[in-house]
Symmetry: D2
Subunit: 373 residues, 4 copies
C-alpha cells in the first residue's frame, strides 16, 4: 500500500533496484496529447547515475519504454505503462547487507515492517524507485507546459552551509543546467562542486536544499481544507528519499517578521492586481493566488559513507559496516528532477481537480511582488 499518488492524474510506481525493472502506470492522462519516449528520457537522463563526476559513477542508461496508452504518437486516455529494465548486475558489494542493517537507511524498518526485504541494492528503498516518479512527472510537466503555460524550475540552493542567491521569479532552467551541481548561482556553484568533491574524497557525504519555482499557475488551484496546495506539495516532497523538511514562501525564515511586515499587500497596478511582496509563496489559504509558487526541500547527507560505522546485524548483535561500491556523495544534483517531477504531479492533479469542481480558472492572476530566497 502507498504506491499510488494523485487523485485524477495518478501514478502507481513499482520495482526494486534488483529484479525485472522499475516502472510506473499513469492513469488519468488527458487523451490526444503527443507523447513518446523522447518526452520522458531527458528528465530520466538528469536523474540517472553516472551523469557527472559528482554523482555516483554507476553507469545505467535507464532507457524508458512506453508499453501502453499511446497510439500513433498520441495518448489514448487509457493507462500509460512505462518500463525501465534493470541491468542484472548483482554485485557482491551487497552481500554484507543481507545480514547487517545500514545505519540511517531503511533496512531495519523494512525488515521490522514486512519481516522480509530485498537487501540487494536496497530493493524498493533504492533511489532507483524514483525512476517511475520522474517518468510520470515528465508527462505531467508536458501537460502543464502545453495546456497551462506553467513552468517548473528546480535548483540546488544550498549544499551543506554554502547558500546560493536565487530569485524564483527569474531563475531559468538553462542556468540550472549550466553546471553539474545544478545551482543557477554561478558564483557559488563552483564552491559547491569543490565541497562535494572534497567530501567524496574523504569518503563522506553532504546534504542541502533543493528549491523550486513554479511560474504561471493561475489562481484557484488547491483544495482546502486538507488538500491545500502546499499540503500536497509537502507530502510529495517528504515522500522523496532522504528529504527531511519542506517550507513554502517565507517558511521558517519568515518567523523573524511580525504580521505587519510579513503581509503581502494587494495593489492595483495599471489595472492588474498584484501583491507588493510574495511571502505567501503564491499560495493563500491553500489555493494558488497567481503569483510564483516557491518552496524548499531539505535533503539530509547521504547515509552511505565509506567508513566503518557501528551497527547491528539481523540477529541484533553488534557489528560494523563500511560502505562499498559506488554511491552519491550528495543527492542534490539528481534530486532536482525528482522535486520537479513531484511538483508537476501535484499541480496537474490539482488543475484537474479544480476544473472538475469549478470550471476553468479565471483570467486575472495576481502578479507577484519581488521576493528573494
Amino acid at each position: 500500500m502507498g504506491n499510488t499518488f494523485g487523485h485524477l492524474f495518478r501514478i502507481t510506481t513499482w520495482g526494486e533496484s534488483h529484479g525485472g525493472g522499475v516502472g510506473v502506470v499513469v492513469d488519468g492522462c488527458p487523451p490526444r496529447l503527443s507523447l513518446s519516449e523522447a518526452d520522458i528520457q531527458p528528465d530520466l537522463d538528469r536523474r540517472r547515475p553516472g551523469q557527472s563526476r559528482i554523482v555516483t559513477p554507476r553507469n545505467e542508461a535507464d532507457q524508458v519504454e512506453i508499453l501502453s496508452g499511446v497510439f500513433e504518437g498520441k495518448t489514448l486516455g487509457t493507462p500509460i505503462s512505462m518500463l525501465v529494465k534493470n541491468k542484472d548486475a548483482r554485485s557482491s558489494a551487497y552481500d554484507e547487507m543481507a545480514v547487517k542493517f545500514r545505519p540511517s537507511h531503511a533496512d531495519y524498518t523494512y525488515q521490522a515492517k514486512y519481516g522480509i526485504r530485498n537487501w540487494q541494492g536496497g530493493g524498493r528503498t533504492s533511489a532507483r524507485e524514483t525512476i517511475g516518479r520522474v517518468a510520470g512527472g515528465a508527462v505531467a510537466r508536458k501537460i502543464l507546459r502545453e495546456r497551462y503555460g506553467v513552468q517548473i524550475v528546480g535548483y540546488v540552493s544550498q549544499v551543506q552551509s554554502i547558500s546560493a542567491r536565487i530569485d524564483p521569479e527569474t531563475v531559468q532552467a538553462m542556468d540550472v543546467e549550466s553546471n553539474i551541481v545544478r545551482c543557477p548561482d554561478s558564483r557559488v556553484a563552483p564552491r559547491m562542486i569543490r565541497l562535494i568533491e572534497r567530501v567524496r574524497s574523504a569518503g563522506d557525504t553532504v546534504g542541502g536544499i533543493v528549491g523550486c519555482a513554479i511560474r504561471g499557475v493561475p489562481p484557484g488551484w488547491g483544495e482546502p481544507v486538507f488538500d491545500r496546495l502546499e499540503a500536497d506539495l509537502a507530502k510529495a516532497m517528504l515522500s522523496l528519499p532522504a528529504s527531511k523538511g519542506f517550507d513554502v514562501g517565507s517558511g521558517f525564515n519568515g518567523l523573524a517578521l511580525t504580521g505587519l511586515k510579513h503581509n503581502d499587500l494587494f495593489r492595483n497596478r495599471g489595472g492588474k492586481v498584484i501583491t507588493l511582496s510574495n511571502r505567501s509563496g503564491g499560495i493563500q489559504g491553500g489555493i494558488s493566488n497567481g503569483a510564483t509558487i516557491y518552496f524548499r526541500v531539505a535533503f539530509k547527507p547521504v547515509a552511505t559513507v565509506m567508513h566503518e560505522q557501528w551497527t547491528v546485524d539481523v540477529q541484533g548483535r553488534n557489528a560494523s559496516l563500511k560502505g562499498k561500491g559506488r554511491h552519491d556523495p550528495c543527492v542534490l544534483p539528481r534530486a532536482v528532477p525528482m522535486v520537479e517531477a513531484m511538483a508537476a504531479l501535484v499541480l496537474v492533479d490539482h488543475a484537474l481537480r479544480h476544473e472538475a469542481q469549478c470550471g476553468p480558472a479565471p483570467a486575472k492572476p495576481v502578479r507577484p511582488g519581488k521576493i528573494k530566497e
Copy 2:
C-alpha cells in the same frame, strides 16, 4: 473537494465560521471503544478562543455534541458525527470584508477559485474549521493511548526569535499546560508571553514554531513509497491554517553535518537494539523505527493586524483595510492541540493500514538515542 483526511480512519469536516455550526464525521473508528463528549471537550477547550489573555478574547464555549456512532457509551463502528453549533453573532466588524480582500488571508483566493465566498468571519477559512479536526483527533488520540500506548505531546518551541530548549524524549503534557503559551521550557515561557502581550498592544502579531513529540510508536508504521509516515505528517501539518513549514528529526538544522556525523548508529544494549542518536526523528525510509518521532511546524505571523494596510476591493480597486474585532496576536498556543490532533489522525490511520497488510507490529522497537531540539 478536499475535506476528507485519512484512508482507514477518516474524518470529513464541514462548516463555516458563521452558519449552522461546524462539525466532523469520523468513519472507520474501531467498535466498542468507550467514548463520550467528555473525551472530546478537553482538547476543544485547549483550542477555543478566550482561554487566556494572549489569545483572542472572543468567548465561545464550543460545546461538542455526539450525534451518532455511539451507543450506551461505546462506539458502534459506524460513523461518529460530532457537531459544535455556532453562536449566531453576525458582527458588523465583518462588513468591510464583504467588499475588500484582507492581505495575506484567503479572501482573494477563495473568491478567485469559487467565484463566491462567505465573507463573514472568513467562512470556511476561519480557524473555526479546525474544531472538526480537533474533535476527530481526540478520538484518534484515545485509540493511540489505549490500544498502542502512544503518547503525543505538542508544545510551542519558538515565538518569533525566542527559542526554547525541549527534549522530545522527556517533554510532558503537564509542563506544556503549565503556562498559557504552552511552552514547557519554564525559563523562556514568560518571555514568550511578554512578547505576545507587547506585540498585541502594538496591534501587531507574531509567528513561531510548534514542535511535537510522539513516543511509543512501534516499528513498522508508514507506507512507502508515497504514503511515508513523514510525508503524511507533512501534509497534515501543512494543511493547518497559517502553517508554512515542516521538518522531521534533524530537518533543516541537520544540513550542517556530514553523513558520518549525521548517521544514527545501531547498537545492542543489554539485548535491545537502540540508536546512539535520533537524527532520523524516529522514521527511516518512511517507516517508524520505534524511536521517538519528533517534528516542527512553522506558523507565520497572524495576518490580521490592527493597522491600516493597503489592499484592493472586490473590483480590484485600491483600498485600505484595518483589522477590527478580536483576534489572536499569535496562533501558537491554540495551534498546539491542532498539531496534536492531526498527528494523531495520521498515526491511527497508519496503524490500521500497517496492520491490515502486515499484521500486528513486532515486539522489539529500537530504543532511541538522545536528541535535543
Copy 3:
C-alpha cells in the same frame, strides 16, 4: 469504513435510527448553485414514512436543515452538511430486538462484525440511513437537470409477479407520482396497490422491481475499465437496503437472443447517428452512448413480518420472534426516490470525472432506438 460514496462529488452519510439524527456531508459540489432546503425536502417527502396507506404509518416529518456550504442562497463550493433530527421515540416495540436476531435482517451480521449493535429500530441498518443519500442525491439531481439537462425517472415496474409495461424513452415523473405505488402503468398500478394491501392485512410482505430511466446523458460518461458507468450504478443500487439484483439494458432478459438479434445497429437518420434498438441500455464498453440509460433493481420482500418466526437469541439459543410496531409491507414505493438519488450521485460524479480528464462532452449524442422493458 464504507460510508462515503463518490470520487469528485462525494457524500458521507451518518446516523442511526435512534440517536441525535441522520445526515450527510456533500463534498465537491460546484459553487454558485442556487440551493435551499426547498430543493431537498420534496425528495425526502417521497421517501418518508407515513406518506400513504401502503407504507409504514410511522409519521416522521423528516425536515432537513442545511448547516453549511450555502451562503445567501448559493453553494460555496465548501462541504454542504445536512441534518435531519430524530424524534426521540424510543419504542418498547424494540426491546425484544436487544436479545434476539430478526431473521434476514442485519442484526446478526452487525453483532458478528462489530461485537456491538444499536438494536433500537435497527440502528444504522434502518432504512432511515437512506435519508442522507436522498438529501445528497437531491443536490446531484439539481446539477444534472440544470447543467446537463439530464432527467432521471424511477418507477415501480413489478410487485411480486405483477409486471407493468413501461417505456424508458417516454415515462414521466408525473405519471409515476400519479398513484401511491409509484407505477406509471395506470392499468396495473391498482392491482399492485391491492396486492400490497392484501399482503399487509395478512401480516406478510412482498418485493419487486424498481426501474429507472435516465435521459439526456451525453456520450462519454463512464471510466473503464473498473469504474464503468454500469459498474458504478450496480454498486450504487446494491448498496441500497433490501436490494438483491441489478441489470442494465436487455439484462437477464437479453440472454434469449443471439448476437445477430441483440446488437444495436448504428444508423444515420437525417444527419444524426442513432441506434435502431437500445439493448445496450445507453452504455457501451462502460461509457454512455447518448441513448437513454435504463436499468432494473430487484428488492426482496421486507423481512419484518407480523408472524412468529424461528430465530436465535444473542446467546445462540433457539427462540422465536414476531414483528411488532409499524413497518412497510413493501419497500418499493419508498425505494423509488432512493434509486433516483443513487443514480444521480453516480452520474454527477461521472460527469465531473469525465470532464476532468477529457473536457466537456461532444455535441452529437446517439439518438436511441425504441426499447420496451
Copy 4:
C-alpha cells in the same frame, strides 16, 4: 481514470490488445506469501484464447512474468508488477475497424469520450484487458485459500436458455473443469457445447449466465453502508466486458416469494447457529453471515457476428460491417476465471478492511441451509 480496483488490496491494470503488452500492478499484498509465476499461469490458461474448440481459435500463450515485489520466492509487501507481452500480430482483419464502428461494441463510445481510440483489436476494450485482472485475482485467491480457507468456484450455469442445476454448497472446481464449457452439471454441459458449436457454425453468438459460489467466508466481511459486500461484488462483475446483470442469493427469482417464505430462519443445531435456508446468499445487511455466498452474472451474446450488419463510419455515414477473424461464439467458458478473479479481489480487500477496523473475525460462522440455484 478508473483503472484501479480495491482499497487495501489494490490492482491497477494497463494495456491494449495491440502494443507492448498488458499487465497489472498489485499493491497491498501481504508480505512473505510464497509466490511465483506458477501460481498465476493456471488461471491465465483458463482465460486464454485457443484453449478449446468452443472459444476463439487465436493461439496466444499469455505467459506471465513477475517483474517486482517478489524476492527469493516470497512477496516483499511492495508492489507486484506482472507483465504479459503482446505478440505483435497486427492483423489486416482490423483495418475496417479504423473507419467503422462495430455495433454494440465500445468503438463509438471510446471515440466519443476520448476523441481517439486504438482500433486495432479493440485496444483497451479488448477482453485482453482482463489478463491483468486474472493475474491479480490469482494472488488474491491464493491469500484467501491459504489464510482464510476460502474457496471460490465459478461455473457456467446457463447458455442462452439451457439452464443447469447447480448447488452452490457442493459444486466443485474439478467438475467445472471436467468439460470445455465449464458447466458442472454433466447432464446439460454437452447440450450447451452443441449449442455453442451450432451457433458458431451459423456465424452467430450466444450469451448466458456465470454463477459463483464462495465458501468459507467468516461472518463480518463487508463495509456498510456503501461498500456492502454485495455492492462491491456487483461493481466488480458489472465491470467485466459484456456483463449486463448481477444478482445475489434469491435475486430476481426471489421476488415470487412473500417475506414469510423468503426469510432465512436462524436455528441452533447442536450448538451451532445455522440458517434453515440461504436466500440471503450469505450476505445480510451488506455483511457476510458465514453462509455460502453465491451470485449470478449475466453476459450478453458476443457482439462480433460473422454477418454483414448495418453501422456507421467515423464520419457518421451509413455503412455495413461483417465480423472477420477469429472470435468467441460465447464468452462464458473464458468468463469463469474472470468472475472468480474479481470475486477474489473483492473478498481479499474486504477481509483486510474488516480486520483493519474490527480485528480478526470471530470463530462462529452461521452454517448455511440448503439452497438450489
